[in-house]
Assembly symmetry: C2
Homo-oligomer: 204 residues x 2
């Protein structure tokens, strides 16, 4: 019997954490995404409870008030949040949980986890970063669609986010997609083998 873990992947914006997160979900049968809550309206094809829990603004605010979120944030006027009980429910089923969260959200998760032994024991945090700020800028510009102003603002944000790498358990300096995924898988596998997540019954 192994106790489940929360793999929290964070990164400065533009570092490519969603690619690695998607790769981990595809490659790891025991690993599940949490369905998060949002106040933005569903897009075509999105299903409530599968893609997101779509909440009214007042309902979201009430849940913030009741401290039900592990982390939440507002981006361009729309709120997004991860319910504590969604994570706990998966862990209690023995599932491992993937959280793909920005640096500010990761700090909140870490804080919440400290107050809950189940979460604290499960939590493993990984910081993915490009090797240099120059490389991060190249990736941000590579998208091609953003204005100079947007790029400069994102680069500034990324710079201060990247400075927070010491808050994480693991540091993954990104290389190719394949290498990033292989190393993230190594972290996951190693964490499943930690003695304090396992029990051994040798029998006779």
């Amino acid at each position: 019997m192994r106790s489940p873990l929360i793999l929290l992947i964070s990164a400065p914006s533009g570092a490519g954490k969603t690619t690695v997160a998607d790769g981990m979900i595809a490659a790891t049968p025991s690993l599940r995404r949490v369905v998060t809550c949002t106040t933005r309206p569903p897009r075509a094809g999105e299903v409530d409870g599968r893609d997101y829990h779509f909440l009214e603004v007042a309902e979201f605010a009430a849940r913030v008030e009741r401290d039900e979120f592990l982390e939440h944030a507002t981006v361009y006027g729309k709120s997004y949040g991860t319910l504590k009980r969604s994570v706990v429910a998966l862990l209690e089923e023995g599932q491992d949980v993937l959280l793909n969260i920005d640096v500010q959200g990761a700090a909140r998760v870490r804080e919440e986890a400290r107050r809950d032994p189940l979460l604290d024991r499960a939590l493993v945090t990984v910081f993915l970063t490009p090797p240099t700020l120059g490389e991060l800028e190249r990736r941000l510009r590579g998208r091609g669609s953003d204005s100079e102003e947007v790029i400069r603002r994102r680069l500034e944000a990324a710079r201060s986010e990247a400075a927070r790498w010491r808050e994480f358990d693991y540091l993954l300096v990104s290389a190719t997609r394949e290498q990033d995924l292989a190393r993230m898988q190594a972290i996951f596998t190693a964490e499943t083998l930690r003695r304090d997540r396992n029990d051994l019954h040798l029998g006779e």
Copy 2:
């Protein structure tokens, strides 16, 4: 810059740790074996300083007296030991060090490491065990060459060694050779990515 690590692999006798250790050395360019000391005479083809440091009994005893060994043991009247300074010299060159040591020796290494911050920071301990004692017995018998008495004695020793799995950082319940090696490599890779073994300079 990454600080080097000591990968200590231990197991009950007969669990196959030497196979995994050999595989790790073959697969990992940064990982080095330590040349250990012994009082047994060289065999044909063995070279002093490459295969072992061959020591006179009095010389070995003097080094024990001066507390120069990280761990040492006597097996069938011959002494074997790992010099602290051999391990430290490799770490100071930035090499990772592989130690393939029995359960008693592993406990001594852990104790010594607690007294030396360089060793303590570097040390990662893995316990390799067959899934059941029945499987361990099957493996011991599979060698075919030992008497019933020897097998019983080794099984008894292995049973009490296996009970000490909680002393290690990682628990690796052995499956196939390939799987054991892949999981040991995952542990090694993950440990090289731990934030406290790394430094990040993003530059501009």
